[in-house]
């Protein structure tokens, strides 16, 4: 039965991709990209990749669709027909790369084989020893936050770089001070939505915190929690207007928090260096090694969650602030 569902999901992915190529209405393309993210997230669930499904759903289906829609609100909806000369050049190149890729798959270990090199070399140690060495059930979080913690540090820096980049490009310092702007939200007539949102937002924030601290035992962790936390603010900003949202979250505070998250992550590592161990070695935090790993992973996930949440808020507010110039509204 799982094979049928896999094939069904993959064929839906292919159909969505082909539809995206042909549709010229960019709003529809943004929505189909959201559907593409959703299907690939469900495919990840079928492939036992629960944490990745979590992240892909919240990032692929949620954040990237919202960002694309915010951009389309500024740049306009319809796309021009693509030029024949470009497609004639692109098709052979794409077919050539595709042929090389297919050629590459001929010697691959077959799908789901338990004896392929991937399953035998590095992975068994994580699965067998992580219970004793780190003591948390979710092996993905233990690899993410302890064995390969420096990769995750690089990742937090990538998100921080994106936040700095979007700020450097779109930051507007000429926005009127918050107090003076009357709150004229565009969604006044959607009273139903505002009531429901008012009920939902605390629940979403609570769910975000649950995901943050549940990362060791089930799917979840810093990234997913950060994105969920930020999506609560997006909902508030969309329904109550940007000025109300800017009253809630002050832009300089958000930037300081984003920097703070990265610094929390960095100091967790540097503390290990100060006492002679290597960077990001958690055995410094307490004499019992397993307990030390728990503490280390907790700090790491806190730093990651804080940075991801605040950078997502920075990116969304900077984009929406930019469209305020266009519409001069809310």
């Amino acid at each position: 039965m799982e094979l049928i569902i896999n094939m069904g999901l993959l064929s839906m992915l292919a159909m969505t991709a082909i539809a995206i190529v042909r549709i010229k209405d960019l709003f529809a393309v943004a929505m189909l990209a959201g559907i593409y993210g959703l299907i690939s997230a469900s495919f990840f669930v079928m492939m036992d990749a629960v944490d990745v499904a979590f992240t892909e759903a919240s990032v692929g289906a949620g954040i990237s669709t919202l960002l694309m829609l915010t951009t389309l609100a500024i740049t306009g909806r319809f796309e021009k027909a693509d030029k024949k000369s470009r497609t004639r050049f692109a098709l052979p190149l794409v077919l050539l790369t595709g042929a090389l890729l297919i050629y590459g798959t001929l010697d691959m270990p077959s799908f789901g084989a338990a004896d392929s090199p991937v399953q035998e070399h590095v992975a068994p140690r994580y699965l067998n020893d992580s219970a004793q060495e780190i003591g948390i059930p979710n092996v993905v979080t233990s690899v993410l936050a302890s064995y390969r913690a420096f990769d995750t540090f690089g990742e937090v820096i990538v998100i921080f770089t994106a936040g700095v980049g979007v700020l450097a490009l779109l930051m507007r310092t000429d926005l009127p001070p918050i107090s003076s702007v009357k709150n004229t939200a565009s969604m006044e007539e959607h009273m139903v939505l505002r009531i429901v949102a008012k009920m939902l937002i605390p629940l979403i924030l609570l769910f975000g915190l649950y995901v943050q601290f549940h990362g060791e035992y089930g799917p979840g962790g810093g990234f997913q929690a950060g994105v969920i936390f930020a999506s609560a603010f997006f909902l508030y900003a969309m329904l109550y207007g940007m000025n109300a949202a800017r009253k809630v979250i002050d832009s300089s505070l958000v930037q300081v928090l984003a920097a703070l998250g990265v610094l929390i992550y960095g100091t967790t590592g540097v503390v290990a260096m100060l006492s002679g161990k290597n960077f990001l070695d958690y055995s410094v935090f307490s004499e019992d090694p397993v307990h030390a790993q728990h503490l280390g992973i907790l700090f790491i996930e806190l730093g990651v969650g804080l940075t991801v949440a605040t950078v997502m808020i920075i990116i969304f507010f900077t984009f929406s602030g930019r469209s305020q110039v266009e519409g001069e509204r809310d």
């Binding site: 693509d82 470009r86 691959m108 338990a114 900077t318």
Partner: protein
């Protein structure tokens, strides 16, 4: 060369090429970024199908003996997804600035405006 074993990878390769085609062939800047997202997401799907073992469960340890899929590709893909969204966010910020200064997000119009001034 078993057909079913590699079928997953072939569909993933087709998805990659569709994404790659969009990036190269379509002129609209936002559409290129969508193509880039498709291309990267299908590379992620390739990574994840690598780690799956037939009849295994997710790498979250439960009591008693159980066969788990490989957790390492999941960690790599968590990083790659975040890299993907960071690139898309920066790309969209550039598109907004380009729209404000060129008043168009079609590649050939922008090139034409570049030649003029």
């Amino acid at each position: 060369m078993n057909f079913v074993g590699l079928f997953n990878y072939w569909i993933v390769m087709v998805l990659m090429m569709i994404g790659f085609y969009i990036v190269i062939a379509q002129g609209n800047l936002v559409k290129k970024l969508v193509g880039l997202t498709l291309f990267q997401t299908s590379v992620f799907i390739m990574y994840i199908t690598m780690g799956k073992i037939e009849g295994a469960t997710a790498p979250i340890l439960v009591e008693g003996e159980a066969l788990y899929s490989n957790p390492l590709p999941h960690v790599l893909i968590l990083t790659a997804i975040v890299v993907g969204i960071a690139t898309t966010a920066l790309g969209l910020a550039l598109v907004v600035r380009i729209k404000e200064s060129y008043d168009s997000i079609e590649e050939d119009e922008i090139n034409r405006k570049d030649q003029e001034c």
